[in-house]
């Protein structure tokens, strides 16, 4: 038993950290967020060269044939960098088609999704909510609501951008009459998608914690760094507690997706519930630690707060996932 990353996995993580830090420094994230179109095609191209879009897609379809653990490694780092990217939507579309598509659907769509050339996108929504998902520039959509799981070429759908507070990602309301139904069960892919989003939330919470911690070491008030005051240091300790708990649950859920699918429903709901809550509370507490500066547009922390809040509403809310947890533990 080893609940830690293998050498190969640590290599993936280190590469991602380094690549994302150089390509998505804070100024770049801000520039993309403020531009109105958060996705940079050149940077997407670089990710494709690294093979990221196909990381969890079987090799026979041109992917790397790795698993949800590796996907989660990348997504935690993308959350840490708050990288504006259609990556997660493409990955989720790939997971839906790979796990619930027919052979023909897989043959047709997965190679493009794995290569990143025919970008996929998927609905990140819960039944009953507005149909949010997809990404500008996508080629194929995996839709889940309003007509059941199906594949729709983007050209056949109506996309309407909806303006939400998170500018680091593009959100669309999607309408499509027809579509090619996915014959398989989408439960696994939905759970894996929730875990992927949880990983991103863990990453952004970890970064918000780092930002707040660094500030607390440097900022002085009343003759001391504020991090020497327990009101500040204990808040930061609680933030770490939240991040670490969410991280453990997310890694475990990722492993279940790959190796223990029966345990996945409970594990995924625990991970998404905890990660959403952690990201919301940690980004809030980060602003509290930063004080006034954290309330300015010029400081980056608000981008993290906003992403956390929007992600909390996607792929099932914390309360919805806790209700599932209650059912799954026998209540």
């Amino acid at each position: 038993m080893e609940f830690g990353f293998s050498d190969e996995q640590r290599e993936i993580k280190a590469t991602a950290r380094e690549f994302l830090a150089s390509r998505f420094p804070a100024e770049k994230v801000r520039e993309l967020a403020e531009s109105g179109n958060p996705y940079d095609d050149a940077l997407w191209g670089e990710m494709c060269e690294l093979g990221w879009p196909g990381i969890a897609i079987p090799e026979r379809y041109g992917g790397q044939g790795l698993g949800v653990v590796e996907l989660v490694i990348l997504l935690e780092e993308m959350g840490y960098a708050l990288a504006p990217s259609p990556f997660i939507s493409n990955a989720y579309a790939g997971a839906l088609i790979a796990s619930a598509g027919s052979d023909e659907q897989r043959e047709r769509w997965l190679p493009g999704i794995a290569a990143g050339t025919a970008r996929g996108a998927a609905e990140f929504t819960n039944e009953g909510g507005p149909v949010v998902g997809a990404a500008k520039g996508s080629t194929v959509l995996a839709l889940l609501t309003d007509g059941g799981p199906r594949i729709v070429p983007t050209a056949d759908a109506e996309l309407e951008r909806i303006p939400v507070i998170d500018d680091t990602r593009a959100y669309f309301r999607v309408r499509a009459e027809s579509g090619d139904p996915l014959p398989g069960d989408v439960a696994w892919a939905r759970a894996a998608g929730a875990v992927a989003l949880a990983a991103e939330s863990v990453g952004l919470a970890a970064r918000a914690l780092d930002i707040a911690t660094e500030y607390a070491k440097e900022r002085e008030q009343f003759g001391r760094p504020i991090g020497a005051y327990q009101a500040v240091s204990h808040r930061l300790a609680n933030m770490l507690w939240a991040v670490e708990e969410a991280r453990s649950l997310t890694y475990y859920a990722a492993w279940c997706a790959d190796a223990d699918p029966e345990a996945l429903p409970l594990a995924a709901s625990m991970a998404k519930a905890r990660a959403s809550d952690a990201a919301c509370s940690v980004t809030h507490d980060a602003i509290q630690t930063l004080g006034g500066i954290g309330f300015t547009w010029e400081h980056d922390i608000h981008f993290f707060l906003k992403r956390a809040r929007v992600s909390a509403q996607l792929m099932g809310t914390a309360a919805e996932h806790r209700e599932r947890v209650a059912s799954l533990v026998g209540l």
Partner: protein, 379 residues
């Protein structure tokens, strides 16, 4: 103990209510921020002409000399009528009272009437980028010259600066004195080239506040309040006035937000959800706890004469409740509430500052611990 209004208080309430019914200025104009500000200025003139502007000010200075209860009644009626705020809030709530408490006769003569009439708008220049909670560590310098002072430094979180004629400015006049002793309280004329106002954009996307860049601005001796080196004591008066009576008004605002939240829960079909019901009940209890605590404190203040430090608890209650309400609204409203054009997303983001502005929650807990509970100060 009697929570009903006395006959006099009822008469006062009826008077306010009748006057508001007749003089309510209606909806603010569509136009830009300037037009809206002009509307608020005109509204203050109307208030002033009827004697309502300086409701808490002594009659000898053009105020109404209302009791704390009457002030609370007035605020409640204003809220009930959804009347706009007057333009010169900082002048009325802080500037005027400070001049009344610490100013010379000449200063009272010079400054008070234009505050009431909204002819001269006031803003406040206390905070600096480097001195947030630790206000006394501020670095803006005041250098003595013949007949006045040269001021150089930077201020932040200044509301109304772009409309203001006067700024209540705290600066370091003696760099060698201990940090609380070397400060002086100035009234800075904003209409000089040495003062630059830059809008400060917040996480809401709005620029509700400003930064002030002061590069050798001039303040004549007659615009020093409370004397050289006494700035800290004068500033405390300003801050006490800011926090006094906050509770009752804040509770009115929270109740309005709670009403909206109940409406939202119903509209989203969540009114029957026990989790939602429990949280809304907790919020109702919090709002009433704040309102009733404020009324208790008001009665106590009328008996003792000075507001106690309990106002710090009111501020804690208010920020916690307002933040919790907007968080629940996001959960109830889902992605709709997160739209940039939905009022809840704005309220959620704006409320993030509630636990920071006007004294952070950490500092307020220090105050409660030290001044109410008598616990030792951390040195």
């Amino acid at each position: 103990m009697d929570l009903t209004l006395t006959a006099e208080e009822q008469a006062f309430r009826d008077e306010v209510r009748a006057w508001l019914a007749e003089n309510h200025p209606g909806e603010p104009p569509a136009g830009g921020e300037d037009a809206q500000f002009e509307f608020a200025r005109q509204w203050q003139r109307t208030l002033h002409e009827a004697g309502w502007a300086g409701i808490s000010w002594p009659r000898e200075y053009g105020g109404r000399g209302a009791t704390l209860i009457e002030q609370a009644i007035f605020q409640e009626e204003m809220a009930r009528a959804k009347a706009p705020r007057p333009a010169n809030v900082l002048g009325l709530v802080m500037g005027g009272p400070v001049v009344i408490a610490h100013g010379t006769e000449e200063q009272k003569e010079r400054f008070l009437e234009p505050i009431l009439s909204a002819e001269e708008i006031w803003c406040q220049g206390f905070s600096e980028p480097g001195s947030g909670s630790d206000l006394a560590s501020l670095k803006t310098r005041a250098v003595k010259e013949d007949g006045g002072w040269r001021i150089t430094g930077q201020k932040v979180w200044t509301t109304y600066a772009h409309h203001a004629k006067w700024c209540m400015l705290l600066a370091r006049s003696d760099p060698d004195a201990p940090k609380h002793k070397g400060l002086t309280y100035f009234i800075l004329d904003m209409e000089q080239d040495e003062v630059e106002v830059r809008p400060l954009r917040q996480i809401t996307g709005e620029a509700e506040f400003n930064e002030l860049f002061i590069d050798g601005a001039w303040v004549p001796d007659e615009n020093v309040i409370g004397g050289e080196g006494n700035g800290w004591a004068v500033a405390i008066t300003t801050l006490m006035n800011e926090r006094a009576g906050l509770g009752a008004t804040a509770a009115l605002g929270l109740q309005a937000t709670l009403d909206d939240l109940i409406e939202l829960a119903k509209r989203r079909g969540r009114a029957g959800d026990p989790l939602v019901r429990d949280r809304i009940a907790r919020l109702k209890i919090a709002v009433e706890g704040l309102r009733l605590g404020a009324l208790r404190s008001l009665t106590a203040t009328m008996r003792v004469g000075i507001p106690g430090p309990e106002g710090s608890i009111a501020k804690l209650q208010w920020s916690a409740a307002n933040q919790a309400m907007t968080e629940l609204a996001l959960e109830l409203g889902g992605l709709e509430a997160l739209r940039t054009d939905d009022s809840w997303s704005y309220r959620f983001l704006r409320s993030r500052a509630n636990s920071i502005e006007g004294g952070t929650s950490d500092v307020l807990r220090n105050i409660v611990a030290e001044r109410v509970l008598g616990l030792p100060k951390l040195r």
